[in-house]
Symmetry: C2
């Protein structure tokens, strides 16, 4: 999917906030599972559309975050959508392995149960296997 398009009209349709960011929801394209939410700037959107692999903006590291570049748990873009106000992005993706840095399939593993927090999903891959002692992501 690599190409030399500018994606200018898509970028103009998205209302990035005062920090130049928009929240992006990643959803597994076939099952509908909501995997994670992260942030994108203009460069991350362009990189994602150009390569067909999801790239976010890491607010903590202050740089582009090509999902899976450390962990191997990449997201192949299936569809790029945005909402009525243009201020939220919905990425339909095909997730390799697990989306969450904890080693769980998705990040939304906390739930309110009888008014108390409860963890509702198991760790599938040891985070040490994903990143190793030298690596970090997110």
């Amino acid at each position: 999917m690599t190409d030399d398009k500018t994606y200018q009209s898509v970028l103009e349709a998205i209302a990035f906030n005062e920090d130049g960011l928009a929240p992006a929801i990643a959803q597994q394209f076939d099952s509908g599972e909501v995997l994670m939410m992260a942030w994108m700037n203009r460069d991350a959107v362009t990189d994602t559309l150009r390569t067909g692999r999801v790239c976010y903006w890491s607010r903590s590291r202050g740089k582009l975050w090509r999902k899976g570049e450390s962990s191997g748990q990449k997201q192949v873009l299936k569809d790029f959508r945005w909402d009525c106000d243009g201020d939220t992005i919905l990425l339909q993706v095909d997730q390799t392995g697990v989306a969450c840095h904890t080693g769980r399939r998705n990040c939304f593993f906390n739930a309110a149960r009888d008014a108390e927090p409860e963890i509702i999903a198991e760790v599938e891959i040891d985070p040490g296997e994903l990143y190793g002692p030298e690596k970090s992501e997110k």
Copy 2:
């Protein structure tokens, strides 16, 4: 589901931002469709958990926004979840009618097609029927 619990430990698990808000993704609980993204503050979370109907914080109106109070297009809460960092909420809901103020089922009706924006969903209910001349929501 109305009760007198405080939901304090759930509120403490959520990392509201510097404006006291957290993004909340609403997903149709059975189909997996991502319906919309809006914002919640502590009062909105408490109201949602207490009543079993989704309540957001309207940033534009500066007040609690009980989804459907104007339009009738309410969201019954099926599950309340949050992510690994505690900074994003995932609401599994049963949506009455349409979620989007444009009268579409969900808000994510814009997609990149060959690098250009394209509208991929039809209006299902005339917004004039939802809100009427005197009403507004969102």
